[in-house]
């Protein structure tokens, strides 16, 4: 009886939803297919004519639409095959995903940070997403999702693309970290320190990785009922000896599992002006477990010997993956990258990281680049020989 009533209710709701959502449904799945500049009702992939990557093929896999409460939910699973049509090897790529027809604020990106796509090579990119929109929201006839190129980084650290999302800086950091880690691992391999290499790659087990964390980024949360529970917390610093920026600690406001306005005092101890600093944040819970909260680049002009305070806006609510609030006991900050005035970047070296802490888990977290993650996965799945072959292409 429960099922039949539930089904009747669902049928009624879906019927109403179908009527309300007719424009979305009437365009249907038959028009699946993407092309350069050729849009369809669901997805458009657009690359400029002089883009170094062009689309070879695309497909919408198990794309579905269903009713979710008073909203329509579209689950779009896209598989793109792109080709490097330029003359340089592509080492990083960011695709911008706009669902502006769904909501102006609905914007995302997909980044491939560890590519090695030589001219003519093809590589796949998967974009799986879900769009949920109330029925009563008007929509235009434009495609639901538009995918475009935001930035492509070449092996010579030059880049192509509008870079509206600040992707170039991130891709350059990934590339520098990749070179650092590949060089470090190749050196271990070439000098016969295989045991050290295995430990570095965590024996393929992944046990040294920091645990996962769930979070919410909120804007202007309502704190009227929680003023009494708010307390300041000191921010400790993991210092790198060669860093051009010295972080000197700071404070943050903590309300339960919410972190507000973390602030760190920084001083430029280099001889060069700095235009942006990326601070990494590690959260330690009441059990002493560390979680990588993230790395936040911030534009800040800092001339030599100048000091400033870096304060992050907004509010971050930390949760354990199961959804339980994570009590914040300690905060660690470290300088993850520095962008000089001329656009060049500094990242901590392996020696810096080794000297910064004796904690192997924390050290692993500080050095966990996307490329090292890829190599770990390669070692775990295909063994030392595959790793050796991959590292041999390190210049």
């Amino acid at each position: 009886m429960g099922n039949s009533c539930g089904n009747s209710l669902a049928v009624a709701v879906i019927s109403v939803a179908m009527l309300l959502a007719r424009p979305a449904y009437s365009q249907g799945f038959s028009q699946i297919g993407t092309g350069q500049g050729q849009g369809n009702s669901w997805l458009t992939v657009e690359f400029p004519k002089d883009s170094p990557v062009l689309i070879v093929s695309s497909g919408l896999g198990s794309t579905t639409a269903h009713i979710q409460g008073a909203s329509i939910a579209l689950e779009i699973r896209t598989s793109l095959l792109l080709r490097n049509t330029g003359k340089k090897a592509i080492h990083g790529l960011t695709l911008r995903v706009d669902a502006g027809n769904f909501h102006p604020a609905a914007q995302g990106s997909v980044t491939m940070p560890s590519l090695d796509a030589q001219p003519g090579d093809t590589f796949p990119v998967r974009i799986d997403m879900e769009l949920v929109r109330p029925f009563n929201v008007q929509r235009s006839e434009a495609p639901l999702v538009q995918v475009s190129l935001d930035c492509a980084l070449f092996d010579d650290l030059t880049a192509y693309g509008p870079d509206k999302l600040g992707s170039k800086r991130a891709l350059m950091v990934y590339e520098l970290e990749s070179r650092r880690d590949r060089h470090y691992l190749a050196n271990l391999l070439n000098t016969g320190r295989v045991g050290e290499l295995r430990r570095e790659l965590d024996f393929g087990l992944g046990g040294s990785n920091l645990p996962q964390l769930a979070m919410e980024l909120l804007r202007a949360p309502d704190r009227s009922n929680e003023a009494g529970h708010q307390h300041p917390m000191a921010v400790n610093v993991v210092a790198f000896s060669d860093s051009p920026i010295e972080a000197k600690g700071g404070t943050a406001r903590v309300v339960g599992n919410d972190l507000e306005a973390p602030m760190v005092r920084v001083t430029n101890r280099s001889q060069r002006p700095v235009r942006s600093i990326e601070m990494g944040w590690i959260v330690r819970d009441e059990n002493g477990r560390d979680f990588m909260a993230g790395s936040l680049p911030k534009k800040i002009v800092l001339n030599p010997v100048e000091s400033a305070q870096m304060t992050e806006a907004g509010d971050v609510r930390f949760l354990q993956p199961g959804g339980r609030p994570l009590d914040i006991e300690n905060l660690l900050a470290f300088v993850n990258s520095v962008e000089y005035g001329d656009g060049s970047l500094w990242i901590p070296s392996r020696a810096d990281i080794d000297q910064a802490t004796g904690d192997p888990v924390l050290r692993h977290a500080l050095a966990a680049s996307p490329e090292e993650q890829r190599l770990e996965n390669l070692y775990r799945r295909h063994g030392m020989n595959a790793l050796r072959i991959d590292l041999e292409r390190t210049k």
Partner: protein, 209 residues
């Protein structure tokens, strides 16, 4: 016992009572009849018995005359019985009707209550909590309670994806459960994982306003 002439011993009272009602066997009755012809005492006794019997009959007839008459008249008895049955059936129907009305009302109320419980249960089971909160906050705003809707967006990480939500619309970029989520900007949330098919590291991000 002696029967017959004046000189014979008298019959017992019980025998005389039975004789007066004609309930003695034929031989006994013949002996008593012969005795009574010559015995005034027994004859008077019998007369008193008969008189008493007649009195009793008259009293009984006066009290149960209708019943006797009805018993004597089968047609009347049948009509009366049928009438009684009809009255009984009608009364039962009346009672049934009253009970049924109440039962129907209770059944309808129970059905409505059941549907309500099912609807509420189904709503809370099937509708995501954030939509419930959204509906509740919208209702409060309509009633003039609660703060006005905040502008801007909320970024959220779940085991299946990272999402940006604003005014009820949500874009979620999905990722496998192995993805590590972190902030990658003041209004940017990212998830990093290795694509199991290609072996390439993929970083997805959503952007708030």
């Amino acid at each position: 016992m002696s029967a017959g002439g004046t000189h014979l011993s008298h019959a017992t009272t019980e025998t005389l009572a039975l004789f007066s009602r004609g309930d003695l066997p034929w031989l006994e009755r013949w002996k008593i009849r012969r005795h009574v012809r010559g015995c005034n005492t027994c004859e008077e006794e019998i007369s008193r018995f008969r008189f008493a019997t007649e009195e009793l009959k008259r009293e009984a007839a006066a009290q149960t005359l209708t019943g006797f008459e009805a018993i004597a008249d089968w047609t009347r008895l049948e009509r009366e019985m049928l009438g009684n049955i009809a009255v009984g059936v009608s009364a039962a129907r009346c009672i049934d009707h009253v009970g049924r009305r109440r039962g129907v009302f209770l059944a309808k109320a129970a059905a409505v209550a059941g549907m309500l419980v099912l609807f509420v249960g189904g709503w809370f089971v099937h509708i995501p909590p954030e939509q419930n909160r959204h509906l509740l906050s919208s209702f409060r705003r309509l009633m003039g309670e609660g703060p006005a809707q905040q502008a801007g967006s909320v970024l959220r990480a779940t085991p299946d994806g990272i999402s940006v939500r604003a005014q009820g619309a949500t874009l979620t970029i999905l990722h496998p459960r192995s993805a590590v989520v972190s902030m990658s900007g003041a209004s940017v949330m990212g998830a990093r994982y290795v694509d199991e098919d290609s072996g390439e590291v993929t970083i997805t991000s959503v952007y708030g306003q």
